[in-house]
Amino acid sequence: MLNRNPLRKRQYIGTLIGIIVTIVTYIILPLKQTEDFLSLGPLNTGHEGLSCNACHTDAKGSLIQQLQSNMAYTFGARKTKVDFGTQNVDNKKCIACHDRPNDRHPTHRFLEPKFKDAIANIDATQCETCHREHNDTRVVLAEANFCVNCHYDLEVKNDPINVPHSTLISNKQWNTCLQCHDFHGNHLYKVAEKIEDTIPLQEIQNYLRGGKDPFSSKKKHLPLSEDEWLKMKAKHTNSK
């Protein structure tokens, strides 16, 4: 069969090489050693050393089942499509390790209708709006002035700071908020009462870019490590 036409022979050899490359890739890419090669970019601060599948957990069903389900969805034979390969990384994944009952700005808070104008500017209902992964940083926003979206009409009674909030707001100094206020409220520290004692803006900006934590080394709630998360997951799976 291969002797009939040299062009046909090349075609078969090409097909064979394609199949071999596909099989080898399929075997090699899921290996732990190739994670860096597959990653979209360096992990964000605090996530260094995490395995891919700490966040990118396996989707439900086998690959063939997922393929079939999505084909059925494409042709209208089922209402919902399914994750292919790995599950979508959403808020629930983040909160599995970063659950903090004292969070001042939990994402679900912004689902209330009154925040719809604010979230049109900055979608605070999603962790990844600020903390998009694979960017080697802490916060991906270019400016730390996002407080304006909700607190633009803030009035503080019994204002404790020497430069009143009303002055800071009228001067549109929204970059200064984080010099006193930790957005998620998890750091244990004493808030300054004089503007000159607050955390310098440069340190805040460094922190947002992944640098040293200027608020405090102490936190009320620590996130789960990958091992702790795996144990919790195993416990949850076994109890089902």
């Binding site: 084909m71 919902t80 009952p101 004292n102 209330e112 209708p113 009154k114 803030l154 019994n158």
Partner: protein, 286 residues
């Protein structure tokens, strides 16, 4: 093998591949209890039911724990979760705790508290909620609407000053924006949201369970906080007794049992009454 034979082989392989894919069966679709025929409750009915449970739960907490507890020397504070503050959650934060816990569950229920004169500015109503709250203040009737932008069915219910601690705390708070609250006033409104216009029995029960689990979670968090109080004499005894009997605080089970006793009969009757009506409607329409 001639080219027709190869074409046949390719055709057979393709057919076999499709059959192989189909024979495996796909990932099961999550629709067991959500088919349209099972959707027996209008969303407004279930949100009304759960809002009534919430009224009873919060009244019990406000009167039985906060009001009576303050007389025994217990403290309640908006910064109750801070390490240096030895206090429990104020009723508004108790509700926020329930809301947060619901959000951790798989039940897509949203719960928020707002007002036109809130202590915390972030709880002030704006936009459509502010408009509807004006109506609620005049007739105390719930407002049900579809929030177009979010595609969520939304209901607002009056939050009344049902107990002296509500009025006293809000009037005397250092950051209050109104100092003449009195018993019976509409102090604010709870806003509830759900993504579907109707619910099955399972979904309705899941909503009730999520709310009750939230109550237990925030109350347990309060008891956990008491355990961290540095001076033993500031820790009330945790057991069967309530603060009205002395320096006591009920366990989570005792508190939740009391909530259940006050709410379950009404909720259950409502579910059953609605089911009878629905059955009659079904018979009439068929």
């Amino acid at each position: 093998m001639n080219r027709y034979g190869i074409k046949n082989l390719v055709f057979l392989l393709a057919i076999n591949s499709i059959m192989f894919l189909q024979s495996c069966g796909g990932v099961p679709e999550e629709k067991s209890s959500t088919t349209q025929s099972n959707k027996v409750f209008a969303v407004s009915e279930i949100l009304t039911l759960i809002a009534e449970e919430n009224d009873i739960t919060r009244t019990l907490y406000t009167k039985g724990i906060v009001g009576a507890g303050k007389k025994q020397g217990l403290k309640f504070d908006e910064d109750w979760q801070d390490d240096e503050v030895e206090a429990g959650p104020l009723p508004a934060l108790f509700l926020r705790g329930i809301s947060s816990d619901i959000r951790k569950s798989i039940v897509p229920l949203g719960l928020y508290l707002g007002s036109d004169f809130p202590i915390n500015a972030s709880n002030k109503f704006t936009g459509k909620q502010a408009e509807l709250f004006e109506k609620i203040k005049t007739n105390k009737e719930p407002q049900h609407f579809f929030e177009e932008d979010q595609k969520l069915y939304t209901s607002m219910f009056a939050d009344l000053a049902v107990a002296a601690p509500c009025v006293n705390c809000h009037n005397e708070h250092k950051n209050t924006t109104k100092t003449d609250w009195k018993l019976g006033d509409v102090m604010g409104a709870t806003t509830w949201q759900y993504p579907s216009d109707s619910l099955s029995y399972k979904e309705a029960i899941d909503v009730i369970k999520a709310y009750r689990n939230g109550t237990k979670a925030i109350y347990t968090a309060y008891l956990d906080k008491i355990a961290t109080f540095k001076i033993d004499s500031t820790k009330p005894s945790i057991g069967n007794k309530w603060p009205s009997k002395g320096f006591y605080i009920p366990t989570a089970d005792v508190f939740i049992d009391s909530v259940r006793k006050l709410t379950s009969y009404k909720s259950f009757e409502k579910l059953l009454a609605d089911s009878k009506r629905r059955k009659n409607n079904y018979l009439v329409s068929n």
